[in-house]
Amino acid sequence: MVIRKKSEQIKKQILDFLFEGPKSINEIKEKLGSNWPTINSYLEKLKEEGRVNEILITDKMKIYRRTDDPIYYSLPFNKDIRMKTLYILSEIEKRWKKKKGVELSKTALQKLAVDVIRTCKLNLPILNFHYGMTTCASLDSTNENIMDLIEEPKEKKVIIDCIGEVISDKNHTGIAYQEREYQYKKYKMSFYSSKEKLTKLFMIQKNKTNKEFKEELKKSLLNLSLNYPIKLEKFYDEFEKFVGNVQIILSKEDSKDLEGLEIIKGTLTQLWDKITTFTSFQDSEEFIDKDKKQLFGQIRELNYNFKELNYKTYIEELESLAQEIDPFKINMPQGEMSNEVQKLILEGLENE
């Protein structure tokens, strides 16, 4: 009985330490003042229980994390960042419920927390995630193991004041899609706004004729292209490839059906995921301590490769669908304006 209790204590110590971020066996053994085989055996037990897993395995080391790690991608932010972010999230959730009498959606919670971080000018990461700006953590208030570990920061008073101010902002409705729209408008995130419109269009597709839907989809895609941000120019080729192929599929004149709609949707999702994974890591990087930069880089590479693989499958399918269409059967836009553009292209051909 005594031995079992001790074993549980050690496991708890390991889990508490992993709450501060992913760690190697060496880091854990040093923290707990134990040896490698002992720690390794406890980690194996915790792994069997589904409470930890390896985030990274190389020839030389294994890095472990809690399976309920609240930090996105289990990025190795320091304890201070983790604690403050989780504190803000938990306080907003508590205070919103108290004031409004209803639960706050996960999306809304993130949007309010971003406003708090900005209003308080707190030095905490804000990530450009797939649904807009978020904190670096996701709060599950039903997880007592995590909630018990959250400590009050020294900026408590300032944070609480800010939360009060943000919750009082009537534009915060607590409803996910309205919260996204409000954030995109407030922070002039036109690329996200365009993507939101596109997503909405897919949702109301059934209420429209195929022709109407195709025309609106073309326009929404153009809108997305026009709002493509310069800071993402690294992905412009891929983005343009996606848009170009979709425009060809949608312009097929002898087809009234919505061919390839699922592939179009899937490719957009994967591309968006790939781009926003990049922005999330980019936004996180400056907040990673020097000694964790290497681990951060390894996690980033793993995620990039995974997203790339997902995206590749879809874009290849989209491309092959577009390649089945004879683009010479699709007319170039007619009229003086279009002729002028084409003439300019031909003039540029000289001395090519």
Binding site: L222, E233, Q323
Partner: protein, 218 residues
């Protein structure tokens, strides 16, 4: 069976739709392919055309950025470093046309559609009309290239013509181009002023100009 070696401009003229005289000739030439063999050199397929298409994409990117945000500093993107001066003039002229257009929304829709369609048409053209891609770029005869460069100071033209001459020495071909100014029989003959090159390439391809093309009656 005729083997035609195509200059890069020909597919681009073929992909346009404005009724330009060379566009009409290119369409006539391609549509009367019959049993002729169409060749493009590897340099055009793997490098020059993709590079040209990439520059068109960047021009469109710059255009879209500028019309969305007037404060955007044109050509400040990293990728715009690949643009030539003439591309920048082109982008500025597009913006000028846009500013003068009455229906700006339509102009933007059209320009994006034209650029997208152009890319798709060129890829389709290569896949469906080109019978063979010849002379890997790395195999272009350096001496031949240097000789041509003495007379023609355009690296792309030099690589393309050198590829044509080399392929002609494997199997006879005819060059087809719209460039009457630089692609001349006189230029090709300069190759024979070099002893080694005249031995390596005793026969030189004929050049036909798109402007003079008339379909053969069958």
């Amino acid at each position: 069976m005729m083997r035609y070696f195509l200059d890069m401009n020909l597919p681009i003229y073929f992909c346009m739709q404005i009724g330009h005289s060379l566009e009409k000739k290119a369409k006539l030439f391609i549509e009367n392919k019959n049993d002729s063999f169409f060749l493009l050199c590897d340099y055009i397929v793997s490098r020059n055309l993709p590079r040209w298409l990439k520059r068109q994409k960047v021009i469109l990117f710059e255009f879209n950025q500028k019309i969305q945000d007037q404060s955007y500093n044109l050509f400040s993107s990293e990728q715009s470093k690949i643009l030539f001066q003439k591309d920048k003039i082109f982008a500025n002229r597009l913006l000028l046309s846009y500013n003068q257009s009455k229906d700006k929304k339509q102009f933007v829709e059209n320009i994006n559609q034209i650029f997208n369609l152009l890319q798709a048409r060129i890829s389709y053209f290569i896949k469906n009309y080109i019978d063979e891609v010849v002379i890997p770029e790395s195999k272009i005869d350096f001496k031949l290239k240097s000789c041509l460069f003495t007379w023609l100071r355009n690296d792309s033209d030099v690589r393309t013509i050198a590829s044509a001459i080399q392929e002609h020495s494997n199997k006879k071909l005819t060059i087809i181009t719209a460039d009457k100014k630089d692609w001349t029989n006189e230029l090709l003959k300069e190759v024979h002023n070099d002893t080694r090159l005249s031995k390596d390439y005793p026969s030189l391809p004929k050049i036909e100009y798109l402007q003079n093309y008339l379909p053969k009656s069958h």
